[in-house]
């Protein structure tokens, strides 16, 4: 029987995967051709979506991007009519974009069905949990410390130190909270993972719960991701039935259970303390730190808060060992990072590689340059609070420290590419406008500085007077300093990055000459 694989990922569906699956089924029925369509997760090769894969003795053969109208000709090709097909891609796993990646987190992407426990187990699922139960909590924490894993949400704090702090915070009620409020533009790795491999995140959270002594976990998912919410809820039920959640987790004698909490459209709730407030049922107002959430977090109790990708990295570390994981990467940035290529890019998608490849390799070799074919102007790395990096700096390795050294940050690994039609003064203004709209209002630089900043950019763009322009540019730089050093959290603190980088590298967009900008 002809066996096809088509993603059920929400973005594959947003470009027509459901219609392709229906058209293929309809056409096969008409021909009385037995057909088995399996809906898998997505590979992350989004420019090829909808991507249809066919099982053969030589592995899966790919076709894409397929439209519903291609169904008859595709079935002709698949049933051996000569001539192949114009959309044929050859063996999917030989596509250079994919076979040069180092996929640890996304090893199952595009291969397994998201809610099949059988598929998950057949591809290494629950090996990490088995190892964790055998090792015991103290050893698990030691392994996470030893792996060099750092928080993947953006702050890059060493994960093992958080684990140790929560574990040592005494007995009593503790929590594990997964930050799945992936609000940064240009990022979609959390979404892909939750929709496509929910058991991996669940396994990571169970390991975390057992290791730090928490019996309850929350996954806070943004409301813009309804598919992820539905998949996680279904996955909980499946895992609970299989004995991995409840009063005796995987034969450990310990209890752990999970619940999804849905955000409500507030970007600031991606900040960990605002997120905790939101789970508690309050406005998403940032808390001052200390106290650290590891000691006084959710409902005032010790809480381990991590991004989706951090928690989902843990099963691999436990299954294959800390040394295996640490062997990937460079300097103090160890392991792999799923980079996300977005915006004006020809080959948009997910690229999981060890830290250390350059931005140029990512944007040019993988991304293939701009989608419009126009000259590349800049890439914003790390979401709306990340710096705009000009091509002259593209040889910087993707490494936390190297990016910090040039006044940028890797953040969650999102890269938004822009061509020469995007005006950077407008983007600087947009960053400030976004901050004004999404600020929680607790600290002054963020609440007021964002609005004042928009006004300064407006005056800067409007003026024809040399000295006025000079004054406004100075004021804007000054304001960026105030935001960066005076804000309570990263929302205000990092809004300075896109603004200051736009001003520094693209002064002409603000009407400034290079000499004026240098002053």
């Amino acid at each position: 029987m002809l066996k096809l694989f088509i993603p059920c990922d929400s973005v594959a569906r947003a470009v027509g995967a459901d219609q392709v699956a229906e058209a293929l089924q309809r056409e096969a029925d008409r021909r009385q051709l037995p057909l088995d369509i399996q809906r898998t997760s997505a590979r992350g090769l989004y420019w090829l979506e909808p991507l249809v894969e066919c099982e053969t003795t030589e592995g899966r053969q790919g076709y894409g991007p397929v439209t519903a109208e291609d169904a008859p000709s595709l079935l002709d090709a698949l049933t051996g009519q000569p001539g192949g097909h114009s959309l044929a891609l050859g063996p999917v796993e030989a596509i250079p974009y994919l076979n040069t990646q180092q996929r640890l987190l996304f090893a199952r992407a595009g291969v397994t069905r998201p809610l099949s426990l059988e598929d998950y187990r057949a591809h290494g699922g629950f090996k990490g949990l088995e190892s964790a139960v055998a090792l015991g909590g103290a050893e698990v924490v030691a392994a996470v410390l030893d792996s060099g894993l750092r928080g993947r949400g953006g702050a890059a704090f060493p994960a093992g130190i958080k684990w140790r702090t929560v574990r040592d915070a005494g007995a009593g009620q503790k929590y594990v909270v997964c930050n799945a409020d992936e609000g940064d533009s240009g990022t979609f790795a959390d979404r892909m993972l939750m929709e496509g491999d929910p058991f991996l995140l669940i396994e990571g959270m169970i390991i975390a719960g057992l290791a730090v002594g928490a019996d309850k976990g929350y996954i806070y998912v943004r409301s813009e991701y309804p598919d992820a919410i539905r998949v996680l809820d279904q996955a909980f039920a499946i895992v609970r039935d299989a004995g991995y959640l409840g009063t005796d987790v995987a034969g450990s004698g310990l209890a752990f259970d999970l619940e999804v909490r849905v955000g409500a459209g507030a970007y600031i709730c991606g900040e960990e303390t605002a997120l905790l407030e939101s789970i508690e049922g309050k406005r998403g107002i940032v808390r001052a730190k200390p106290p650290l959430p590891a000691l006084q977090g959710l409902f005032g109790l010790p809480t381990l808060v991590h991004n989706v990708l951090t928690l989902a990295s843990v099963p691999t570390i436990l299954a294959k060992g800390a040394a295996f994981y640490r062997d990937f990467g460079m300097g103090r940035s160890l392991g792999t990072m799923p980079f996300q290529l977005a915006g004006n890019i020809r080959h948009g998608g997910l690229v999981e590689r060890a830290f250390g490849l350059t931005l140029r390799e990512l944007v040019e070799t993988y991304g293939g340059g701009t989608a419009s074919g126009r000259p590349l102007k800049a890439a914003q790395v790390g979401g709306p609070l990340g710096a705009w990096v000009p091509p002259s700096h593209f040889d910087t390795p993707l490494d936390y420290e190297a990016f910090a050294a040039m006044g940028a940050m890797l953040g969650h690994g999102g890269v938004v590419v822009a061509d020469d039609t995007l005006n950077m003064a407008n983007m600087a203004r947009f960053a400030l406008q976004f901050c004004a709209e999404e600020s929680c209002g607790k600290c002054t630089p963020c609440r007021i500085g964002s609005t004042r900043g928009m006004e300064v950019v407006d005056r800067l763009i409007a003026t024809r007077d040399f000295s006025e322009r000079h004054d406004q540019a100075l004021l804007l730089r000054d304001l960026c300093d105030t935001l960066q050093y005076g804000s309570l959290c990263a929302m205000g603190g990092m809004t300075a990055y896109p603004v200051a980088s736009a001003l520094k590298y693209f002064p002409a967009d603000f009407g400034l000459t290079t000499t004026e900008a240098a002053q």
């Binding site: 929400s10 533009s185 979609f188 813009e224 849905v262 508690e280 915006g343 709306p384």
Partner: protein, 160 residues
Amino acid sequence: MPDELLHLPVIQRILSQHQGTQGALLPILHALQEAIGFIPDAAVADIARALNLSLAEVRGVISFYHDFRTSPPARHTLRLCRAESCQSRGSEALAAQLREQLALDDHGTSADGAISLRPVYCLGACACSPALELDGQVHARLTPERLRSLVNDCLEDTAC
């Protein structure tokens, strides 16, 4: 508002379903909006009483989060993504096209209640920008023609 009294049984049902839930306010508000389409003013006092909160605390939460509505929605809600990735693929021009076609601003609702516009900042479809969400369904690799036809479908659909 006598109409709102019709919602009281739903409100009571949802409140009792969430008894014992820690930090229940957001789940309750989501459930209410799902069931009724918006958060009726009549619910505020009941929620406050059930959760031992002040009216101001409940209203504060409703107004803080962009998702919560306090009046019935239009028949269709179109949320065009306005974040950086979609901007780099021309979403500002699409937003201008929407404003012109519907004679509405970015947050507007058509007078006949057919369609509401809402900006959204990222739908996670950034590898296939520009994107929008129409009544819960994401459409990516949007073109001006596709946007126009989606809007026309909303305007013609007066049945629901």
